[in-house]
């Protein structure tokens, strides 16, 4: 499904539960129109991965995900020869000549597809998510270049495998190291940051429809206050949603000091952070006794 304008893309994303801001919608639109990969950077927990998932839902494409980690190599990311099966083939076909067997065992039948290969070879167009690319080393980035610019993979024994359909490629990075120029050159660049107050409120209310507007506003304001502190791990959008849900379960109607201390561990997950937040934010909230009395 190709979407005809930026506004349509935005609407389609909103329909599947992702409220994109203007730049995000525009870049998603351009990615589809130009067929270029998108590099999304930003702090942890602002919905980078979620954007890719939402794109896959909005375009009704399958999501192929490659989670990157240190030491990831092409055998795990692209393809691998199924050597057990190759061994079997050699043992079974004992009568045939060597050249036959050699040609045979390096055919697609003996190829194990890994996510990148899978995305390329899929008959249906897919969304390919390469998550946390900054966790891998530079060599791996270099290996991706062929895929990202030409949507093809070269296997020495088989030749070139070209994409049958154009995948939408989303790469995410937490900016923990500088990516290579070559990789950036091939991508559209999108910086995601924590959303504005109004937009985060919309997001929270979209995911927890039962929450009242005043509570949602209060919640987002507190979250922003917490993010403003110098924490080891500031609360992500997902955590504000979790918090909203648990507040609903607790039957809270307002965030006073008591409810805050009880449920704080949902948004703050470091011991030193908890102390700091209790210190700086907790005291600003109203005392439950006083508000009741």
């Amino acid at each position: 499904m190709a979407q005809g304008s930026v506004a349509e893309v935005k609407q389609a994303l909103a329909d599947v539960g992702y409220l994109a801001d203007e730049p995000a919608a525009l870049v998603s639109y351009l990615a589809q129109q130009l067929g270029k990969p998108v590099l999304v950077e930003g702090p942890a927990g602002v919905g980078k991965t979620e954007l890719a998932k939402a794109l896959s839902r909005a375009t009704a494409r399958e999501l192929v995900r490659l989670q990157c980690y240190e030491g990831l190599d092409e055998a795990k990311a692209m393809y691998e020869w199924n050597y057990r099966k190759q061994l079997l083939r050699i043992q079974v076909g004992g009568e045939a000549g060597w050249s036959d067997v050699q040609e045979d065992i390096f055919s697609e039948e003996f190829l194990l597809e890994r996510p990148l290969m899978q995305a390329i070879a899929s008959p249906e167009p897919v969304v390919l998510l390469i998550d946390e690319i900054d966790k891998t080393d530079q060599e791996f980035e270099a290996m991706l270049l062929e895929l990202l610019s030409d949507f093809q993979i070269t296997i020495p024994e088989l030749g070139r495998i070209e994409a049958k359909t154009m995948p939408i490629v989303v790469l995410t990075s937490n900016d923990s190291r500088e990516l290579t120029e070559a990789l950036k050159r091939r991508c559209l660049y999108l910086w995601l940051d924590y959303p504005e107050l109004e937009r985060e409120m919309e997001i929270v209310r979209l995911h927890t429809p039962d929450i009242s507007e005043t509570l949602a506003r209060k919640l987002v304001e507190v979250i922003r206050m917490v993010r403003g502190l110098d924490l080891k791990k500031p609360p992500s959008i997902a955590e504000s949603i979790d918090w909203a849900r648990s507040l609903l379960l607790m039957g809270a109607e307002d965030i006073d000091r008591e409810t805050f201390t009880q449920s704080m561990s949902i948004i703050v997950k470091h011991r030193t952070d908890i102390d700091l937040v209790a210190d700086r934010v907790g005291v600003k909230l109203a005392d439950p006794l006083r508000t009741e009395g």
Binding site: V27, Q33, L34, E178, K184, L188, Y189
Partner: protein, 453 residues
């Protein structure tokens, strides 16, 4: 239009943004798909194809405004015209306005955060002071107008009619100053009918934030990113076989499993270097601008290095490690250091020679070949004895010694700067006035990059 865009890219390149031909082609391709008349779409489409990092994006924003200035101006004039037609400014007609009313209107706009109103009021304020009567220096005029209007950050004195007025946020006030500045520049262009010479951004806007009142947020952004990088620093070395050394003892031990035949090699794990660091930071007036930044960097470093002792100095030296360890809020730290540091004696001028002597007597027993000493300062001795030989003794005792100078290399050794005398003893002397300089330096300290300049 194509020519305009090319010109724009040319300027970006001049500022060090790597805009390749492929980026340009992408930009054109992207523009085919968006509405050119929408300023935001146009800007975003260009940004996403051309500016490929946060730093690039900042330069992009600055240049975009400057390059496509004329369009913005036309828009502003149009807006101004329609708004005047709709009843005019609240302060009435005529060239001279009632200052108090104007000041009130501006306060309201600032409190409401209304950008459009602020822009209009800025224009109004400028004409109230008489166009073309200013000093001709934009920065001076901005401050003059702000003062005359009685706008200051923080809590406000009560209004003339006695009612309470809400305090003005410093950021919001800066926002209004920005409008003033832009309008004044525009005014200047109208009068002289020439665009100001497009000075390179590199020197001013892209350098490290240089005054405490200036964008502290930018410092924090830069530092928080560095924090993240420091946290992962050295980790990329893990899990790599290349260039590892065999651990003979562990290999022999493992060979016992296989009857004494060393079948499996054991390697020595690579550990990121986490040196003991001594940081000496100049906080005198000649480097005020940079020391705010340096202090916040110190702050960030404290989380990342196992053992870090910080000192600040002007005429004398004083240890501030405790302050950093007990406070997490940067603003509090800065305040504490300036109040309890006890570093300035009388003159407030840096005395490097004395600082070295004191440092050596206080710390010399603790220095060993594993320690790294980092000096942040401009090496301007104000004509006093530099005591370079004492500095040499420090260098001898410490394993490594680095110097970060907030001045561009060009200015080293001019005037009272004695950089050369000290540089001889350093393992590396770096100019450090942008975040990338700093990034490079941190890589060196943590052992991820060679120390060669």
């Amino acid at each position: 239009m194509a020519a305009k865009l090319l010109g724009f890219c040319e300027e970006l390149r001049g500022e060090g943004v790597a805009v390749g031909t492929s980026e340009l082609l992408d930009a054109f391709a992207a523009l085919e798909h968006v509405d050119w008349t929408s300023r935001d779409d146009f800007r975003e489409a260009l940004a996403t194809t051309i500016a490929k990092s946060q730093d690039d994006r900042r330069v992009f924003e600055l240049l975009f405004d400057r390059y496509f200035f004329r369009t913005a101006e036309a828009e502003a004039v149009q807006r101004g015209v329609t708004e005047h037609a709709e009843g005019g400014p609240p302060a009435g007609e005529g060239e001279r306005f009632d200052m108090d009313e104007l000041s009130e209107a501006i306060r309201e706009a600032i409190a409401a955060g209304d950008e459009d109103a602020m822009r209009d009021l800025a224009r109004l304020a400028i004409s109230a002071f008489g166009r073309g009567e200013g000093s001709g220096v934009v920065g001076v005029d901005v401050q003059r107008i702000r003062r005359t209007l009685g706008l200051t950050a923080g809590s406000q004195p009560p209004a003339p009619d006695g009612s309470e007025r809400p305090p003005i946020d410093r950021d919001q006030l800066t926002g209004f100053e920005r409008h003033l500045r832009r309008e004044l520049e525009r005014d200047l262009i109208e009068r002289t009918e020439t665009l100001p010479p497009s000075r390179p951004l590199a020197e001013l806007d892209r350098a490290l934030p240089t005054s405490p009142t200036q964008d502290l947020a930018a410092v924090h952004r830069a530092v928080s990113q560095m924090k993240r990088r420091l946290a992962t620093l050295g980790h990329e070395q893990r899990g790599r076989k290349k260039g590892q050394t065999v651990d003979v003892r562990r290999t022999m031990r493992a060979s016992l499993e296989t009857g004494g035949v060393p079948l499996r090699l054991r390697y020595r794990p690579k550990r990121p270097r986490r040196p003991e660091i001594y940081v000496l930071c100049d906080v005198s007036t000649s480097v005020t601008s940079a020391s705010v930044f340096f202090l916040s960097v110190l702050h960030a470093l404290h989380d990342s290095f196992r053992k870090l002792r910080s000192f600040v100095f002007i005429e004398r030296i004083s240890e501030v490690t405790d302050v950093f360890e007990h406070e997490r809020d940067f603003a509090v730290i800065a305040q504490k250091i300036s109040s309890e540091g006890g570093v300035a004696d009388v003159s407030g001028y840096t005395d490097y020679g004395r600082v070295w002597l004191e440092f050596l007597t206080e710390i010399s027993e603790d220095l060993d070949p594993r320690s790294t000493v980092i000096v942040l300062g401009d090496a301007r001795t104000n004509g006093r004895e530099p005591h370079a030989e004492v500095f040499g003794q420090i260098a001898e005792k410490a394993g490594r010694l680095f110097w970060l100078n907030p001045e561009p290399k060009l200015y080293w050794n001019y005037g009272d700067s004695v950089m050369a005398a000290y540089e001889r003893y350093c393992d590396g002397a770096f100019e450090c006035w942008t975040t990338s300089h700093l990034q490079n330096f941190v890589d060196v300290v943590a052992g991820a990059a060679p120390a060669a300049e």
